[in-house]
Amino acid sequence: MRKKLLLWGGAGVVLLFLSIVLSLSIGSARIPIGDVWSIIWHALTDWMTGAGEDAATSPNEQIIMQVRFPRVVLAILVGAALSIAGAGFQGVLRNPLADPYTLGVASGSALGAAFMISFGIHYILLSQWTIPLAAFCTGLISLMIVIRLASINGKFRTETMILAGVVVQAFFGAIVSLLIALSDSLMNGIVFWLMGSLQLRGWPHVLLLTPYVLAGGIVMLSLARTLNLFALGERTAMHLGVNVERTKKTVLIIGTLISAAAVSVSGTIGFVGLVTPHLMRLLVGPDYRLVLPLSALYGGIYVLWADTIARVILRIELPLGVVTAFLGAPFFAWLLIRHKRKGEEAR
């Protein structure tokens, strides 16, 4: 297990580093890679020695350090957040198709955030923490509705879960549409944000998301061994000493909290939380002690690339959610077909 973690983790870190440098170098303002490096090196040494702010900054440095860099970090954080949440949901619900998007958590969180934005009260109550908390509350509500709708005698079937997710998504989406229709001045902003975007995000957003991802990720990782036992079935896990109900609640709440925080900075980005844990399972097997940390790492790389594609492939900025859906939806369809086949074989 250690060997696998070192191998794939090491490869992931290298890949992440390369992706960061490449993504920083690509953009509408053409800045040569050499300059990018020297700017980063410069900023790094300045930051280490405590010098900085007063030094005159070139436009290129501005673009790299204030526009591209925070956006790159944010993309990684959002990807990590959604992937950790997705892996946790899949483990605890023993359902391969569970993720923040299919469980309605993303659309629920979006509703809370959109509500705060459209009424312009997002900085009043708890300053910058207001939107994530509102998103968390509505995200949790929609998760509870989906689980309630999907469970039959305490059992949780894939098909019913997806149906319940669709119902909740449609309903919450309609409320968001209503909000948009009522507040026409903000319309474009909310619509674009809803499709998922990291445009015009800066360091404050990074600072906002980091504590949620870090704390949530650590709690989730500490439960990795327990999630492994869930794979044996809830009753078997209980007979092995797992407090099933408490673990389930913890994972669902932490997952929702991380997803809500991600949604409040980036809007709804689909399929990341679904695709990454599956790819990791294909690479390293079912052990959550590997799947969780590697999902965070590769999920970050995935969204970083999706975002880079979103901002450079056309002359206009594409919504990030559109790019991840183009990549993720075919994968989701493939999973569904495979799941169906397995079900037929078992019969």
Partner: protein, 281 residues
């Protein structure tokens, strides 16, 4: 053997236990006392409440009224981890088709002994290898569960239970989906294990002959009530079985062990074929 057993103290006691599921009374005033080191069988027809009783005895569910005590302490007073260190449960359908290897699943049996980092004080390695070789799983140890047969999976589940190092093993119809070869192998493993460390076994069994062969005492459950408890010789009479199962079997003595074995009567009337009349259609 029985006299010796009678002097032993009870490890698990149920006192006037009742349970209602939905609107149906599943168990009514069940009393039992399982003695340390014995193999205690629970038999009864479908729907007699056997599985519910095992759920209550293992702490997976709580009774509506009555008490269950393990080592003279309320079952509910133990934490889930404490319970998992003392009681292991083997269910009917052993393991789902998962990608974990045999060895990984057996190691999961150590969960109740591990701290939150997954470490424990004793060196687990010899324990795990010992169990694997004892159950003839060494060859399969790196194979994923999803690529094992039903009998092999059930053996892995038993190995996982062994890794828990329990004082009490509960079996909920563990041989249901196994052929007779695996059935006997399974019961022999358990008996050998019992002989080595004096573990107590409570087994819900469907197969009366298997129960007669391997259990020291048998309890008969019918419509949620205890009908009879005693040695196989005392309990397995044609009258009692007819009362409980609704058919009257023939009881014979096992030629080498002397325990009762059950033969079904059957009517054995020749099947009358309905002659097809030609040209009717």
């Amino acid at each position: 053997m029985n006299e010796r057993l009678e002097q032993r103290q009870s490890i698990l006691v149920a006192d006037q236990v009742s349970k209602t599921l939905g609107h149906q009374l599943v168990l009514k005033d069940v009393n039992l006392a399982v003695r340390m080191g014995e193999c205690f069988g629970i038999i009864g027809p479908n729907g007699s409440g056997k599985s519910t009783l095992i759920k209550l005895l293992s702490g997976a569910d709580t009774p509506d009224s009555g008490w269950i005590t393990f080592r003279s302490q309320q079952l509910s007073a133990y934490s889930k981890k404490q319970l998992a260190r003392s009681i292991a449960v083997l269910q009917q359908e052993a393991l789902p088709p998962i990608g974990f290897t045999v060895r990984e699943v057996v190691e999961m049996g150590r969960y109740p002994y591990q701290n939150w980092l997954g470490e424990e004080q004793t060196d687990v390695e010899p324990i795990i290898s010992g169990i694997l070789s004892e159950l003839d799983l060494t060859q399969l140890s790196s194979r994923p569960i999803e690529r094992l047969s039903g009998g092999e999976r059930q053996r892995v589940a038993l190995a996982k239970a062994a890794a828990q190092q329990p004082e009490l093993l509960m079996l909920d119809e563990p041989t249901t989906y196994l052929d007779i070869g695996y059935q006997q192998q399974m019961m022999e493993y358990i008996r050998r294990w019992q002989g080595r460390n004096g573990m107590t076994v409570i087994a819900v069994l469907h197969d009366l002959n298997l129960a007669a062969l391997y259990c020291d005492r048998i309890m008969v459950l019918h419509q949620g009530r205890v009908v009879e408890t005693g040695t196989p010789g005392e309990v397995l009479s044609a009258d009692l079985l007819e009362q409980v199962y609704g058919v009257r079997p023939t009881i014979v003595k096992h030629p080498s062990h002397g325990v009762p074995q059950i033969l079904l009567q059957g009517s054995m009337e020749p099947v009358r074929r309905i002659e097809r009349t030609e040209g009717a259609g």
